[in-house]
Symmetry: C3
Subunit: 682 residues, 3 copies
């Protein structure tokens, strides 16, 4: 069992603390300590946007005020997650060195403003970051309170300045070696676009190239690589000066600007900022979508715990409608994170600021300033409960025998392809449709990318695997051959890693053999169009037919057996779902997009067959996740009720309530309630 913060191996509870906004109000700073203890907080994140206070003039550092805060928190039992300040640079720096400011897609350099607008290439910026990070590490690296480094804040975006263009060209040279190789990879013979000199290359942009899809992809790949490189450079002095303190950076859910999987080797601990649209119009899908995001982040470090670095204890002020969290929802949302492997519940932010764009962002302490508020009471309840659960859950792992292939490069490639449904290819919706049955049946699942190790899984879902890269064809072949069960859906295996179509039949890279079929054409349906899949060979629990929307692959079978056929249109009778035995395993092909019942029933049947189901059957909108203590083998089932009313579950014999350590046979869970139970250990 490996703890996320070894120095203080406990479930963390706390949030972003910005005392720099209140330095002229010592009464408030004192009151904070009292309230933090009342709320059961044991950690605060400090320094996230404090550069101007840490280095008020170029080269003059002022860390004393920060140390005083860290000391006082520590004296009161509160640890520190210490941030590097690169998320927002000081005004004097933007003024003296305009190169630190980003140039947009439109070629315009932005003015000093907002945050997150630094060039990733700028040598000056890198130098300034290196220097202040070195100083911070030297000053605080050995402080007993500091348990984690929080590198920058929500990395994102891209810069199109000339320095970045030069770096992009270097990156391309390194990748392709010759212009000839690049031209081939870009299929630039089309529209006479062959590059004859490296200097002709430029980021994809509004006023420039966006029709060479692989160039667009390369620009995205480059941006991720530059961000990783920047973070590496940021973290370097810290790792050198205080190698024992882990580092993290806070990610943003399924943000598509970066390929977060590339961060796996440079973060010791993963963490993310979680702002679901609880109680919104799409209410039913919010818990599922959030669960999937938790699983995505965790899967970058498969099985290991991680941290929920930010969340709002109340309304989130930048959402379209800023609805209050209903009573209990804060507990449920917080423990959902823990259920998926988080070792913390943290907030943005501890206390609401008086001004600026986030002054109405939910926080533990409101402008009112006292603890007799509904939100404060809900936060305190989470604090108590985390304290109680910490000995059991902290550091436990999240074992999964199933995985869904979610590859960010594939997503990028799909989102910019031209064909089928321009504007929205529906990829994320299909991904979520395949994910939902895991949520509804309580089956632990990882979200892996094409570079991940697939060997430990028994079931692998590959929704719309349009782009094949990282030898995924060979990996999937081996996976099935050795006994795995693969489910692949339509419009997969179309292009290689350079976005070049496979010749000679699709899906490419040998998958025609694994699946026992070839796809000839794909029909795109209008939003109002529907077809039907008639089940000709049913798996247990499946209905006689399912409604089809969006996409229909027209396939020819070689060795595959049809399980369903199209009910109408000119391809009526052609297979809509197939199964193929290959080696010791089985490969299914879902040739079209169907109503959600199909995914529930079909995957439900596979879960049954592969014995992946938990020993409890779940009512609607109730789910369960399992965490395991890898040292003792103890298992913890964390049941979550996303209904507003209570439910009652029958448990197998011999189970115990983890929090009260008493036996439990019927589990009652209140509306928006959470229960943690452990089976009798064998």
């Amino acid at each position: 069992m490996k703890h996320t913060t070894p120095k203080f191996p406990a479930l963390l509870h706390g949030g972003d603390y910005n005392p720099g906004q209140w330095l002229d109000r010592p009464d408030i700073l004192e009151q904070d300590i009292v309230l933090m203890k009342e709320a059961g907080c044991n950690v605060m994140s400090l320094g996230i946007f404090d550069w101007i206070r840490l280095e008020p003039q170029e080269g003059r550092y002022d860390f004393d005020w920060l140390e005083a805060i860290i000391d006082r928190l520590y004296a009161n039992g509160i640890y520190t997650v210490l941030a590097t300040p690169s998320g927002a640079r000081p005004s004097w720096m933007a003024q003296k060195y305009p190169e630190v400011l980003r140039v947009g897609n439109d070629g315009e350099r932005i003015l000093f403003s907002g945050r997150h607008n630094h060039c990733l290439s700028s040598p000056v910026y890198r130098k300034k970051v290196h220097d202040i990070n070195t100083a911070l590490a030297k000053r605080f690296g050995a402080h007993p309170a500091v348990i984690l480094w929080h590198i920058s804040n929500e990395y994102g975006g891209e810069c199109h300045c000339e320095l970045c263009q030069e770096n992009f060209r270097k990156w391309l040279k390194k990748k392709y070696k010759t212009l000839d190789a690049l031209n081939r990879a870009y299929w630039s013979a089309f529209w006479s676009h062959t590059y004859t000199d490296w200097s002709q290359l430029h980021s994809s942009s509004e006023h420039g190239e966006h029709s060479i899809h692989n160039l667009v992809l390369d620009w995205k790949r480059f941006t991720t690589d530059m961000t990783v490189d920047f973070m590496k450079a940021e973290a370097a002095p810290i790792r050198e000066i205080c190698p024992d303190i882990p580092v993290t950076t806070n990610m943003m859910e399924l943000y598509s600007g970066l390929n977060y999987y590339k961060f796996k080797d440079i973060c010791d601990v993963l963490s993310w900022d979680n702002y679901p649209l609880w109680h919104s119009e799409g209410e039913n899908s919010v818990p599922i979508h959030t669960a999937m995001a938790h699983d995505m982040i965790r899967s970058i470090h498969p099985g290991k715990p991680w941290l929920m670095m930010e969340s709002s204890p109340s309304a989130t002020n930048w959402q379209p409608v800023c609805k209050l969290r209903r009573p209990g929802m804060h507990m449920l949302a917080s423990l959902q994170a823990v259920a998926h492997g988080s070792d913390s519940v943290q907030y943005f932010q501890w206390r609401k600021g008086r001004g600026g764009s986030e002054k109405f962002h939910g926080a533990v302490v409101d402008h009112y300033g006292k603890s007799d508020t509904r939100v404060f009471r809900e936060v305190s309840a989470v604090g108590s409960r985390l304290k109680n659960l910490s000995p059991s859950l902290c550091g436990t792992e999240y074992p999964a025998k199933a995985a869904i292939l979610y590859d960010v490069e594939n997503r990028w490639a799909i989102e910019q392809m031209q064909g089928l449904h321009n504007g929205n290819q529906g990829y994320m919706e299909e991904l979520e449709a395949f994910y939902a049955p895991f949520f509804h049946r309580g089956v632990n699942v990882d979200l892996v990318d094409m570079e991940s190790d697939l060997s430990g899984y028994e079931l692998l879902i590959a929704p719309m695997l349009y782009m094949f890269r990282a030898g995924i064809g060979e990996k999937l072949r081996r996976f099935v051959k050795e006994g795995g069960t693969l489910v692949m859906s339509c419009f997969s295996g179309i292009v290689d890693e350079n976005d070049l179509c496979y010749l000679g039949g699709m899906p490419g890279e040998g998958m025609m053999e694994v699946l026992g079929l070839r796809s000839e054409e794909t029909d795109a349906l209008y939003p109002q169009d529907r077809n039907t899949a008639l089940i000709t060979h049913s798996l247990p629990g499946m209905k006689p037919s399912y409604e089809i929307h969006s996409l229909c692959d027209l396939i020819h079978l070689s060795t595959a057996k049809p399980l369903a056929e199209y009910g109408k249109d000119f391809y009526a009778g052609l297979p809509a779902l197939t199964a193929n035995t290959f080696g010791k395993g089985k490969a299914y092909y879902v040739a079209c997009r169907m109503e959600s019942a199909f995914y529930e029933d079909f995957l439900g049947a596979l879960f049954q067959e592969l014995s992946l189901l938990p020993p409890v059957s779940l009512p609607e909108k109730v789910t369960v996740n399992t965490r395991i203590n890898s040292d003792t083998g103890a298992a913890y089932y964390i049941f979550q009720n996303f209904n507003s009313f209570p439910i009652l579950l029958d448990l197998p014999e011999g189970w115990t309530d983890t929090e009260t350590n008493t036996p439990v046979s019927q589990l009652s869970i209140e509306g928006y309630g959470v229960r943690v139970v452990s089976p009798s250990q064998c």
Copy 2:
């Protein structure tokens, strides 16, 4: 009684006259005079966009043609409203001095084009305007025909050039004195945005800062101040040379680019351009919205008459659907203005031009060129009627015992805040919901801002008074204490004049005591969400319950009494409407947004209690406004029927038809009709 145009104290009828477009058609210029007399016109606005003709080359003025026109009009009994030409500059000026052209929000200087695109700072532009205005004043200031100066045209917009940036920085220095004070007012500690040098400050813009809301507000305040300053400078030579002729500038309804209330001291007479969407899809709200706009303009100079400087006698060509005014609607729309205090009905424009973007804008004379048209006949009818009404109505005042607080800075602050319902906070809709009962019951009302004198009012409505400024907390406290009735609605008293949240409980500035309550949280509802207000203590005429949408404040009462409570959701039973006695007055709090019936019934009850109702009860879509001759005390009730069918009203005894001077007991008003009646004087 003070007349808007003392030199010619009559109800004015006329419009923008652009003979400069027809100088090569003397036959048309002659025909104009004949037609003007036929249409009953007594005034024309001249010179609005004539700079290129008045100064065809730099420094060479040519005013002779204009004088000839003024003379001829005057010889035919038609007075002149004379404009300064700054609304559109000549091509030679833009070419020689590019600095006169505006720089947009995106940092780009626009090309010579359209109109209204001059920099407000440019010394060259100010000099050129000063010179030509001086020359115009010298030439025409003593002309017997000139009764009013029309300064520029529809001021609006902003300029982001370096000259304006410099002026903005000066303005900020003057306002805040120190950077420290500015940083505090901007809460710039957030996101490390502390300014360390005045030169770092820049207008809020697309490529720059927009997350510091008080900077955005300051930029808007600065733009208003610069426009006021520009107008002052424009008017200076005129005021000096011909101090007896009043000046005005034509405003644009509820245009939010400028705070028109800041113009109160620099305009002698207020005027505005009125283009309602008559007969549009939102037909029922058009008369209400237009009435509110009339009241807003008038309230800048409370009680005093004003002018409707522009209106279209037919379709308005830039509206989404350019519908013809139905027969009678032109009379009704014209006299609605008079009913709300206007001493004129004026048009844009007298004769349709042959080309350009407004060639299809409704005008008195069509391209056809003769008087045998429906529109010309309707205009002539208005001319006759104004002539008949002039002796009674001209110069009469508009007395109001009730006011609604509409503060432009509050509107700006709400429109850019982040929270509740981003994109549309629904503030203007709420304002109109509170205004509608005044329209439906025929109660005169002013729209005052936070700097206005509140002492004369008995009833004050404060919808969503999010931002408190100008000591409004203290003013409201005194207003209630001394016997006033205040109605405040939810999300009020949240921030101070710097957009900084009040600490220690809301609404701030002592309003918790006045209202007898504290607001803890505000829930934002999704568009499809509804709650119910159950009336627990009814006022006369109120229903047992009302539907709630959009917003619900969760409040704690101290001394207030609940009048209604929430019917459902987790805050069922909490108060939704409260009343508090404070000093000699009463303060109501409407904690949520409700269906329109609530505002009608609740304010209806207050009108009754405070004896604000006129002595006639009104059918649907019929309203009445009251003008008073302050010398004689004579009252004029102007009834307006916005139905397309006739209605019949019973009047109290002894009333007289003002136009025929005959007694009237039953008042019949035709569809789209207007009747003016006077009660027996006591």
Copy 3:
């Protein structure tokens, strides 16, 4: 009879062939030949985007590879349509001469990217194009395989660079001679916009002028003239070196960026690229819309055959939803073109590329690479049938006795006018409503512009002829006077060629006399508004009333007789449809927009009266077009069934199936089927 490609007078079948993308795959190039023959192809278009391969370095031409391809194709019976490569310039040119790149509406020069982005003025670009075209003509002009020159590709767009501004100013000087004339034509007296120096003029643009509508129109006219001038310059060396080979350029349907009618004198053969939204949501109107586009292109060279240069044999990848063509639809779509006068069916492209933005654009050969696909079989079927039809149809004409006035300048003027319905004036919808009866009744019709010769027609439809130019008033007067039947609809004859409104009554230019009426006002209806036209004097087959939407003209009749009157609103009883006898002809005025049944019934009655109907009555969604051999007088009726089910038609006696040369009395047409039949010749 004049053939489009005299050197090879046959119906052409083929497509864009891009071997330059496969030069490293000789196996694929060989396979191409085999497949082309299997598909019945007799022509390929070559060199369209090959500049970088034809001139890999500045001044070094490499044509050998192209010659080898042309030779090999020719050896296999396949002719070549040879393109000039100006549609996309090589990277080295953009790098060395940035002036060749276009400057956008926003003043920004775009980067090297996409295609179609060359400046139309750049002397360097013109020189480079001239040089390579000369070299190509010299090398290939005498090649026996080359039957047609394909100049550039899909000309479109505009450039705002300083070179183009200078050319624009020259163009303006040439057009207006004096600034005074320009100012009058621009009505620039409005808003003081009078130009005092030619250098003040600038293209209409985002940051500049767009309120002077005639300037906007001039910029569009100039762009067309520059494009025509560019094409002339492109074609000059070709015409000189190989005068016997005709030239064409491929147009884009009803693309409004250019006035294609101005290309009539510089193209020997017209051709266009046809990508209908078959099977889309607006399914019923797709065949009608496509038929109208075919007729528009043909009408530029009235009666003469033309070529369908591009089409997709399957899905079109850049459409919103990329639906597969249902079985049979490819045949129907291909022969619809032939029915309307095309002498070819050509594709973009022969073989799908592996990368780039059009890798999923339908093609004859898929990535799969073999002929056993549904699409390949459908293409081959078209090949066989064209071969069979060629002797009868190739070179036949398309005679029409009716025409619709579709003038691109009028469309431009309507689309940017301000008034009625801003955003969408519904002009194209009205045009299509008038066109539909021709489709439904099988009446050949041309789409002529105001410069066309009208003398050969018996029936002329003039929908919303807002702008009068090219003496159209006089032409229409003569047309009616000499016996023609004219149908004009509301809001016609409003402005002259300078977008200046007519004074003294509308419609202008004497049309009040021809139509016997004057229009006073036009009412714009809201989308939900409806009125009714009550027919007071019925033509055969008309209903008692029709629903009215969008627009209602309020007219006064002089000599015209009312045929229908408005059923409601304040203009109930006013005429909604009128007829006037003028000279030997008749002029109808449709004063409002009506439901489609009106256009069907009213034009149906006129077709009957004028004996324009074919001798067969058509079921729903079935149409017929007639081609005539001008040498023999033989007629060919091409019936097209746009239903998915079969239909059966009774033919007059003595008709023959053209393809089998057997008599036919009952014609059975399968779903999506086409039949060609010839009447007994008299």
